[in-house]
């Protein structure tokens, strides 16, 4: 168990809802859920979800900390926003899912080797490095065309993404995601670092 996780679970003891309210993006909304189930049918990858948003919110209130934070569910969110526009209580469900994923990831409780988790981290690290990312059309097209998807899929599922991709031999993650650097890269880095410092301080996270 990570030190941060130990501290967090000690601090909030039996009040996971409070922990979510204080530390998860838009977490203060969770208590507004009335368990109507509308969101549960909204997720496009729904059948693959271990727990629907509705269930996650119920589990948060029931204090099922470990189960929630180690769930695969948040990582299946495609950011389609169907839930948000349907929820009768106007919960920002998408953002709560993202917030939970972020919190679980930072505490080290998110499922290891979860492909979306690994991809998301790679994406962010790359974007921070240069300030821009190449994610779009022909970048995609280039490696899909070569049939590299299966290689990526495997690399993501089986091994640590960086090493896996390199081992696959057909793909350099730096080339895949690297973009032109910003002119004021120093300033950009300073902004990201400062923002992270403030957020971590507030959320009791570090490193």
């Amino acid at each position: 168990m990570s030190e941060q996780n130990r501290q967090a679970s000690e601090r909030y003891r039996n009040n996971f809802l409070k922990e979510v309210e204080e530390r998860v993006e838009e977490g203060e909304w969770v208590k507004m859920c009335m368990q109507c189930g509308v969101c549960a049918g909204s997720c496009p990858l729904g059948p693959a979800w271990e727990h629907s948003p509705q269930k996650i919110f119920m589990m948060i209130r029931a204090g099922e900390r470990e189960r929630v934070l180690s769930s695969d569910a948040m990582w299946m969110c495609t950011s389609c926003y169907s839930c948000i526009v349907r929820c009768p209580r106007k919960l920002p469900i998408t953002h709560i899912m993202h917030g939970l994923a972020n919190y679980a990831h930072r505490l080290g409780l998110a499922p290891k080797g979860q492909p979306t988790r690994d991809f998301a981290k790679l994406f962010w690290d790359n974007l921070v490095k240069k300030g821009r990312v190449n994610e779009l059309k022909l970048t995609l097209a280039h490696y899909f065309r070569g049939g590299l998807m299966s290689g990526i899929r495997e690399a993501l599922a089986m091994q640590g993404i960086g090493k896996g991709l390199l081992k696959a031999g057909r793909l350099n993650p730096k080339e895949l995601l690297g973009g032109h650097a910003l002119k004021d890269l120093k300033g950009f880095h300073a902004i990201v670092a400062k923002a992270r410092e403030i957020e971590d301080r507030k959320k009791g996270l570090s490193g």
Binding site: T78, V85, G99, F123, L136, F144, K194, A195
Partner: protein
């Protein structure tokens, strides 16, 4: 003097000058015809949207978006920010609304921006190119420059998620937004009015990490277009475009389908209807060639 001026936020797609060009190329052609001047926000950065949350968290995401806002406010005062990428638009707009609603987040964001000598004044507006077309021009204005109507071509308007939810285009419903259909009609084309996968999610960024599950979505999107007699799909979102076009061959391979449905941007349709060449419209950038449109450019 150009008729209308905007602070342009092209998103990362524009960097690959040679390759990711078809959206940008066609947007530029379309804007030329419409007398719109797009000035890139100097030194803009990625919005971090859709998938940035896991490592990025909340404040860093808002802060990098606010950096773009601050740069636009400083260098292009009074101009609205216009994004062409649905994800960029959404990410930026989300950050803006969150900051405008919370003085704490606003203070913290500006504390972060100060590290690079910047300050966000919360003046700038953030819009998608589609909003500009519909609100600042309107269908009647957009019709005027049409010289090569897209007669006889049937288009399925695939709106997808992120220009539709949660904000959407003013006056449109979440279930059945009509703007792409109206645009197709404006250009003389034939919209598939009852295309039932119009707002289905293609899997977004999870097309990378959960390909099988996303491909199920994409299969539905393409299949329904075929079922309704469409010859092409038209979309406002670069990730939708890429996902829906690029995966067809994968799906064919795995599931024995024979998909070969061209997927285009609204801006490509407009460029063609406005008399642009294949190159102006970026039609040479398609993986699945848009033959009926190519023919029209040659007419």
């Amino acid at each position: 003097m150009a008729k209308k001026e905007y602070a342009f936020y092209p998103g990362c797609s524009s960097q690959l000058k040679a390759s990711a060009s078809n959206y940008l190329t066609s947007v530029n052609s379309m804007c030329k015809t419409l007398d719109v001047k797009l000035t890139e926000i100097p030194d803009w950065n990625c919005c971090g949207a859709s998938i940035g949350y896991a490592e990025g968290g909340e404040l860093p995401r808002h802060a990098i978006n606010a950096r773009n806002f601050a740069l636009a406010e400083t260098h292009l005062p009074g101009q609205d920010i216009v994004a062409t990428c649905a994800a960029c638009w959404l990410g930026a707009r989300e950050s803006k609304e969150r900051l405008d609603a919370s003085s704490t987040l606003m203070r913290e964001t500006n504390e972060a921006l100060a590290a690079a000598g910047l300050h966000y004044k919360a003046e700038v507006k953030i819009r998608h190119m589609v909003e500009v077309l519909i609100e600042d021009f309107g269908y009647d204005e957009l019709k005027k420059p049409v010289v090569k109507p897209l007669e006889g071509v049937k288009f399925a308007g695939y709106v997808g998620c992120q220009t539709n939810r949660p904000f959407g285009i003013d006056g449109e419903s979440f279930e059945n937004p009509k703007y792409l259909d109206k645009l197709v009609e404006t250009l003389g084309g034939d919209p598939v009015e009852n295309y039932d996968q119009k707002v289905t999610c293609c899997g977004g960024a999870l097309a990378f990490s959960e390909p099988e599950k996303s491909q199920k979505q994409i299969r539905d999107i393409v299949e329904s277009a075929y079922d309704h007699g469409a010859e092409m799909i038209v979309t406002p979102c670069p990730l939708c475009q890429a996902n829906v076009e690029v995966y067809q061959s994968e799906i064919n391979k795995k599931q024995g389908t024979k998909f070969s449905m061209p997927v285009l941007y609204y801006s490509q349709l407009m460029t063609v209807a406005y008399g642009g060449s294949m190159k102006d419209a970026g039609l040479d950038g398609q993986l699945i060639r848009a033959t009926p449109l190519e023919k029209i450019t040659g007419k």
